[in-house]
Amino acid sequence: MELTLWTYEGPPHVGAMRIAASMEGLHYVLHAPQGDTYADLLFTMIERRDRRPPVTYTTFQARDLGGDTAELVKRSIQQAVDRFQPEALLVGESCTAELIQDQPGALAGGMNLGVPVVNLELPAYSKKENWGAAETLYQLCRTLLREQLPAPGTPRPSPDRWRAEGRRPRVNLLGPSLLGFRCRDDIKEIRGLLGEHGIDVNVVAPMGARPADLVRLPEADANVCLYPEVAGPLCSWLERQFGTPVVRTVPIGVGATRRFLAELSTVLDLEAPEANEADLRSRMPWYSRSVDSTYLTGKRVFIFADATHAIAAARIAADELGFTVVGLGTYSRELAREVRAAAKELGLEALITDDYLAVEKAMGEAAPELVLGTQMERHSAKRLGIPCAVISAPLHVQDVPARYAPQMGWEGANVIFDSWVHPLMMGLEEHLIGMFRHDFEFVEGHRSHLAEGAPPRQAAAHEPDVAAVAGSSMAAAANGTAAAGATATLAPPTVTEGTAVWSADGEAALRKIPFFVRGKVKTNTETFARDHGVAAITEEVLYDAKAHYSK
């Protein structure tokens, strides 16, 4: 049993729903108790879809458990097929149905429905949403492509067969789905990018595809694995069975888009793209080089997201915006190795967890100036008083915007520049607040370009720096740094055991540090005091520490 206040991912059947709802002509019969239809809201409200997800639930109740639930499953399957006449059918269970073991997939298999049936076995008590989506897509394609499987020993098709066939090369775009982060616009961006390089798109899946389209997957010269969380297993299988090469670079960020194009041209035996294409096509490199961005240098950023977006964000932050990445982590255990490697390159230890208290604690300890995370980090960051931008699912309705807002490709880089820099204090304001601290309007932590910026009086009244270090009472208590903290008003910095005591002039000096770096300065000074056996932190100790860490 695991105490959970927030879950980064839903159960695996929600992943299967994402595949079904993203596609056309595919229906999903889900053996589930009354109430599990809540998941429809993810699609009708967050994704703002104009139709119900293609899911028929058995919605059994307690009184059904005394009777024949298997009969209920069969009736639901027959009704769904008769009513919706899908090209293929997914049949599976939710967590409760898994316990009563009616084997709905096997039942459907014996019903002669006249359409391909995919029996989904998604272990709800050990796996989660993205795994469920990846497994569903993989099993669906396996079922639909069974008849096309080449005999063992068949030579792999040459990736440049397009040349011999006198046509443009064509690729599949695999992985985009509903409830994924900005998939709708990423597809458009990548489709355009490929078109400019003379590459056609064979099939986009699952988003917008029909089962009949999936049957054409082997006709592509390469598979582009845009979202490894969803399409990774399918791409590997297609590579093994059909010899289709996989392009694994995810084109999020200017550098990644260049590497993506380079990898694609190698795989397809195309001419390498122009070296200055990025500068011509994306505004991001110039915006980031322009002097207005100088103050972004070394901004401390904490990143937590699904693996794909976390890795991409870390690269962009470090290489393209000149930030210092002070924390990198993911909840995608399936891709933990890749995130660990990316963290190692930055001299960090990756945080692999799905425990939001652990993330909040790590965030508090890293004392960043910017958080790039999921919907949840937005709120932890708000609690800690740190600017934040959302870069990955789980998302909320505001991250399914009406406007064009890709993350991938050249335009994606433009969107990223704007959305990551926006929450930070603007340069002039940052300078002025550092110089004059007695203003009645532009006070500590105030960001006047954000309408919802820190309310002036409140920001002045309490100590955001202490909050940033100690975190919420719950996180702090979990951390063992605060005794049974029941209140949100945080203890003065002197209570933490084994830490030097702040003198009055030391605290006064600390308050003069601009608020967004104050958390880090406080931690550094305390560490310095501890390492040097200093008992009381005075103003001089703070400056000693400052000099020590600037070396």
Binding site: E2, L5, W6, L41, R52, T59, S76, L99, H379, H396
Partner: protein, 417 residues
């Protein structure tokens, strides 16, 4: 009261149901009793549901969570009990200010027959004096949406102190402002003491006994009422306090039971009734003659239909309810217009066929259905909002009507050429 209307036979349906489970009640109950914590014992699906339903609220100091069952817990029951004790210990160590802990059963915990009642008893004995642990089920297999509140309140009933004192007990969650307003009005009528279940503090439970008269603010409290009646309380039959008419009748029922002079009742309430009707008039003009279809959700459907037809002039196409408790709904049913088609339960696809065939002017339905129906050109009012809005009382009648007029008004406003 008018003579009982003739209603066509109740349409009883079974099939796919598009409703919330009782766990969703946590979303408002945790605000009503901030010193309580709701620990769901269930699966990741349960955790996902509560966070999806609670939206942004989850990020305040959490007052609810899920003990997610893992494969190890499914292997053997004894182990699951130890695990639960460990999780509860962890939680109470982190959150010592919790006074009442609700262990909320879910479909998985019910299906594997994890005995949460016994667990609550066990933990209670250990924690005596510090925290009270109670148990109820919010599982989808047993409860629909607001029935979760019924479960939570009936779990509290055995904890209520006994008292023979004559008192009025308002049963069912009310918005704070609405509750205060009712208290003021009951005071003007000379009725008292008046107490509420649930209270604002889980430790400040009202007493109950033979002198207690129950006035139900919400129609979905079947088990709670029966549990209170077993403790000697008497229910005052009345329509529910929605709209001018229902609210007046509701307060008058209490006045009659407390022997208040009808002249005083008229003196206190009639000016409010008149003001309420004036406020309703412009909304009635927007709603009059419009055809209304209510899909099952919260059991509020019948009182809402009564208000919208009698006070706003709407025509009722079908009034669906997830569960019909006839004794608790008798006064409401008596006020429905002749020929109102009621349905209990749901077969979603067939009900949607009836919606499409009838082309009503407004469909009250859940959020899983609302946008898809709008896309088909059918105006909707999402029903969950009614559980989260201050809608009770004479003074709220216009606000309640406005919730239904707003989507129709919006349709008139929007133009694309």
């Amino acid at each position: 009261m008018a003579s009982t209307p003739t209603l066509p036979p109740l349409l009883r349906e079974s099939g796919q149901r598009e409703v919330f489970c009782g766990l969703t009640s946590i979303v408002w109950l945790h605000r009503r009793m901030p010193d309580a914590f709701f620990l769901v014992v269930g699966s990741r699906t349960c955790a996902h549901l509560v966070q999806s339903a609670a939206g942004v609220m989850i990020f305040a100091e959490p007052r609810f969570g899920t003990a997610i069952l893992g494969e190890r817990d499914l292997a053997g029951l004894a182990d699951a009990n130890e695990e639960l004790d460990r999780v509860v210990n962890d939680l109470l160590e982190r959150r010592p200010e919790i006074r009442t802990l609700f262990l909320v059963g879910s479909c998985p915990s019910e299906v594997i027959k994890l005995d949460l009642a016994k667990a609550a008893e066990r933990i209670n004995t250990r924690m005596r004096g510090r925290v009270r642990v109670v148990n109820y089920s919010g599982s989808g297999i047993e409860t629909t949406f607001t029935q979760g509140e019924d479960g939570a309140l009936s779990a509290l009933v055995p904890l209520l102190p006994s008292s023979d004192e004559n008192q009025l007990l308002l049963v069912g969650t009310l918005a704070d402002g609405v509750e205060d307003r009712f208290l003021t009005l009951f005071e003007r009528l000379g009725i008292g003491p008046v107490r509420s279940l649930p209270p604002r503090q889980s430790t400040a439970l009202p007493a109950v006994g033979p002198g207690t008269k129950l006035l139900l603010a919400q129609p979905f409290l079947s088990d709670t009422v029966r549990a209170l009646e077993r403790r000697g309380a008497t229910r005052l039959p009345s329509p529910y306090p929605l709209g001018v008419e229902g609210s007046r009748a509701w307060m008058a029922a209490a006045a009659a039971a407390f022997g208040v002079d009808p002249n005083l009742v008229a003196e206190v309430l009639d000016p409010l009734v008149e003001r309420g009707r004036r406020a309703l008039a412009p909304l009635r003009r927007q709603l009059e003659g419009k055809r209304l279809f209510l899909m099952p959700d919260s059991q509020l459907e019948i009182p809402l239909a009564r208000f919208l037809s009698r006070e706003c002039g709407m025509e009722l196409v079908e009034v669906g309810t997830p569960y019909l408790d006839r004794p608790l709904m008798a006064e409401e049913l008596a006020l429905l217009p002749e020929g109102t088609q009621l349905s209990e339960g749901q077969d979603l696809e067939r009900q949607l066929e009836r919606v499409r065939a009838a082309r009503p002017d407004l469909v009250v339905c859940g959020l899983g259905i609302a946008n898809p129906l709008e896309a088909e050109g059918i105006a909707t009012k999402w029903s969950i909002e009614l559980v989260f809005s201050p809608i009770h009382g004479i003074d709220q009648a216009a606000d309640l009507a406005e919730l239904f007029a707003r989507p129709l008004h919006r349709r008139q406003l929007l133009k694309w050429n």
